[in-house]
Amino acid sequence: MDITFDHVSYTYQAGTPFAGEGLQDISVTIHDGSYTAIIGHTGSGKSTLLQHLNALLKPTSGTVTIGDRQITSETSNKNLKPLRQQVGMVFQFAENQLFEQTVARDIAFGPKNFGVPEAKANALAEQMVTLVGLPASVLSQSPFDLSGGQMRRVAIAGVLAMQPSVLVLDEPTAGLDPAGRRDMMQLFAKLHREQHLTVVLVTHQMDDVADYADHVLVMDHGRLVKTGTPREIFADPVWLTANQLGLPKTTQMAMALQRRGFKFAELPLTTSALAAALLPQLPVKAGERDE
């Protein structure tokens, strides 16, 4: 399911003296099966853009086409449910959305709203709780008795249980410990790879962009200022710094090595690429290579 923005602008509190520009003239397509990262500094309009992906916000002008549904400022709030099921959205600090008495019921809440029978929804809950790396024993616990990181996983499980075909993630790993971050990012990558889930990820972690995304959108002041592959985006460190963005750690390291005399045909973005590029340039210790 492609999602296409056609000259989309959005104004917060339009028609009041407190109006504020959220998005300005965005035109872009998020292709079915892609992994898109959205980067940009705080307040650049990333979350505003995301909320157009499942019609939580409707453009003030322009059109958003989600699959075969067209969303404009005129679109009524009725019959948006199928769309909400197809585009699963994990909000920033998603643990705030938990409310049920048990973890199982909270995860089953979404599917049940979309008409999945009780028994199937409960089965989904069990399946998802394992998928996000929690023990099955939490299913009967209150979500409020869990740690912050566990609550985040339950919230993510609750969205995955809706079985969306597009997964939208707004800084899903902010505030998690490094292990939790890696687990979650690998889970999303796996779903993308194995179930061909379209993933849209907002993040401040350039490493995650380099490791997982195949397409990058750069936002600034409500505008889309640059799009391209991670390689294209990270090719211009000066421009990135000017836009308060950074480089992946691997690339920073490669640049430091470059100043010490190492040579790279193109700057590596991931750890494995860096290792591969370094290996031929390292002095060989006696006995390690036999050619």
């Binding site: 003296p17 585009v87 909000f91 705030n96 609750g158 809706m162």
Partner: protein, 264 residues
């Protein structure tokens, strides 16, 4: 919710913005009280002139104030309608059963309308030019004499300040949680009464949990910084009357005099 103008603050540096919040609070209450003394066209004209001078001194566009009236318009029209249809006396223009439109009815309706507009304009001016926290300070300062009657004025003021401070935070949080639950298939504001009540649960529980969290953090932060009740505590924002506050008070007296001259 976001369309409401009354209760919002518009940062600025005008003469009215710089007035002491106590002056603004007292003057607003005073103005609202004397609005009810106006009973001739000329006296309403005086009151309107007074409001226009204040609005001009605040350098805020009149559009803001007109917008402030908009959410109240049905209440106003309802009240004006009651006045028009149920006031007796004077020439009868139209009659149907016990409904009648009379000369006095029309005049009363117009007066009521003017009163509403005047009161809304002045309240809007007060909140547009005064930060909520300054208003809370003003309330505390004005209620201070009640301390001698063992009213816990500083504690009440603290409650008021904390409540005001967290209104925008909780509004933001409400929007966020509503969106998160909408994304999970909740329809707010559709379906029967029972369905709508059920839809509120996934909103209210996270809000309560969040509020308790905020309250706990705030209490810890206050404890950590040695808060031991309000008695003897010094203030960061010290309220002081300046010459412009006396000018504002004087203007109210002039307005009262003009009102007394023009009313019957």
């Amino acid at each position: 919710m976001n369309k409401l103008i009354i209760g919002r603050y518009l940062p600025g540096n005008s003469w009215v913005h710089q007035l002491d919040p106590r002056t603004k609070l007292l003057a607003s209450f005073y103005f609202i009280a004397i609005v009810f003394m106006a009973n001739t066209w000329l006296s309403y004209l005086v009151m309107f002139a007074g409001v226009m001078v204040m609005i001009a001194a605040s350098r805020i566009r009149i559009g803001f104030f007109l917008r402030g009236v908009r959410p109240m318009i049905w209440l106003i029209l309802f009240t004006v309608g009651l006045q028009i249809f149920f006031t007796t006396g004077g020439h009868v223009y139209w009659q149907w059963g016990w409904l009648h439109v009379t000369h006095y009815g029309l005049i009363n309706g117009a007066y009521i309308f003017c009163r509403f507009v005047l009161i809304i304009f002045v309240s809007t001016l007060l909140t547009l030019t005064t930060q909520p926290l300054s208003l809370a300070d003003a309330v505390e300062s004005l209620l201070r004499p009640l301390r001698y009657l063992h009213v816990p004025v500083t504690e009440l003021a603290l409650v008021l300040q904390i409540a005001l401070r967290f209104v925008p935070t909780l509004m933001d949080q409400t929007t966020k949680i509503m969106n998160a639950q909408r994304a999970r298939g909740v329809d707010f504001g559709t379906g029967g009464l029972f369905q709508q009540m059920k839809a509120v649960v996934p909103l209210l529980i996270p809000l309560f949990v969040d509020s308790f969290g905020i309250a706990e953090d705030l209490a810890t932060a206050m404890d950590a910084r040695g808060y031991r009740g309000g008695d003897g505590r010094s203030k960061f924002r010290v309220l002081a009357y300046h010459s412009r506050d006396w000018v504002a008070g004087g203007s109210m007296i002039v307005l009262t005099a003009l009102l007394l001259l023009t009313r019957r």
